[in-house]
């Protein structure tokens, strides 16, 4: 299976751009956006299959951004990145449609495993239910 296109949404520019370079080294087509206000338009233009979303964005709640991505109708996988290891965050992110939650600082091998797993699960669902919408309804 070809590697998915990954979009990183994180206003910590050094972190996002370095992580993006590391994913490119691992064969992913990866890019990063640093401003929350550009996130939805980048998803619409770039059609990433996996989005890595930081929860601590400036000016907007990451959880609201996650809901906005899900509401936009895209069927990309969203993996949440957060500095807070909190059960409440895990639960809320799961309910809002995140495929997984990873705690910063991130282990790159774990991230790659997580991206591949989430992408292949999403791909399988798409294969079995081609008319399925992003919110899970038919």
């Amino acid at each position: 299976m070809p590697k998915p296109k990954v979009l990183i949404i994180d206003d910590e520019q050094e972190f996002a751009s370095t992580l993006s370079k590391r994913l490119v080294f691992r064969g992913f087509d990866s890019l990063a956006v640093f401003h929350a206000e550009h996130a939805l338009s980048s998803i619409a233009e770039e059609h990433p299959e996996v989005v890595l979303l930081d929860l601590g964005l400036e000016g907007v709640s990451g959880m609201d951004m996650l809901r906005a991505i899900r509401a936009s109708g895209t069927d990309c996988v969203v993996i949440v990145l957060t500095g807070v290891a909190d059960d409440h965050v895990f639960r809320e992110a799961g309910e809002a449609g995140a495929a997984d939650v990873l705690i910063k600082p991130i282990d790159i091998d774990l991230l790659v495993e997580c991206i591949n797993r989430a992408h292949s699960e999403n791909d399988r669902k798409r294969w079995h239910f081609p008319n399925r919408r992003a919110d899970g309804s038919q």
């Binding site: 910590e12 050094e14 590391r22 400036e58 000016g59 807070v84 600082p105 991130i106 790159i108």
Partner: protein, 234 residues
């Protein structure tokens, strides 16, 4: 006997309840500062880990070209920057902790507020609210517990933060006269909306701390402005 153990031994049930509220509010305040500190530190460590990882990735390729060398240099500079930022953050936190540890010593008003504002930087920037400082250099030390002062200023800032948004700012001013030091906290907003229920902490504990400081807290009706006056002789 520590301060926290002592407050449960004073007065009747009503006062004991107020003491518990006060203690809980202070612990909550320190918790918020700790959370903000650890979050910011984790961000610096995350960049260090990724920069270090990128250098490993590049070296793993084997023969490095010019672009790889440039990327390695940039990654090393990034590690340096993040270490510098971490060291500054830890220094501010050290100063904050020292204020709690030596609570009985004279307090530098400007310094105590400055440390608080630096530790709140992330909290403010997440809301895209900026902070403006205007500290008088005539404000010297005063016999006042720094953690109490920081708690009161924090409560005032948080009260305004709830009605501010992107592009708005909070102004913190200090002034000094022979009798008192005045700290003014003002909100400057494009579209200030009223806030229901006041600040994040119950009013009673806040009022109690202000009284213990020998200070008064006043709000300007119709203006998003709070003034804290601390008498020099307490």
């Amino acid at each position: 006997m520590t301060e926290n153990a002592g407050i449960f031994l004073t007065g009747g049930p009503m006062e004991a309840n107020n003491d518990r509220l006060l203690c809980a509010a202070k612990v909550s305040f320190v918790g918020m500062i700790l959370e903000s500190f650890s979050h910011e530190l984790k961000n610096h460590l995350s960049v260090i880990r990724e920069s270090n990882g990128l250098m490993h990735d590049i070296m793993g390729v084997g023969k490095m070209d010019k672009e790889h060398v440039g990327q390695c240099r940039e990654a090393m500079r990034s590690v340096d920057r993040q270490i510098d930022k971490s060291v500054s953050l830890i220094s501010f936190f050290d100063d904050f902790s020292r204020g709690m540890k030596f609570a009985g010593e004279p307090c530098g008003i400007n310094e105590a507020i400055d440390i608080l504002l630096l530790l709140l930087h992330r909290r403010m920037s997440q809301r895209k609210v900026t902070i403006e400082k205007s500290f008088s250099n005539k404000v010297r030390t005063i016999p006042c517990n720094p953690i109490d002062l920081q708690f009161v200023v924090f409560c005032c800032i948080e009260e305004f933060m709830r009605m501010l948004g992107q592009g708005d700012s909070i102004i913190v001013k200090t002034m000094s006269s022979e009798e008192e030091v005045t700290i003014t906290i003002m909100a400057k907003s494009h579209s200030t909306r009223p806030v229901e229920g006041g600040g994040i902490f119950p009013t009673l504990p806040l009022q109690r701390i202000v009284e213990d400081m020998g200070a008064t807290l006043s709000r300007h009706p119709g203006h998003p402005e709070i003034e804290l006056r601390i008498r020099r002789q307490t």
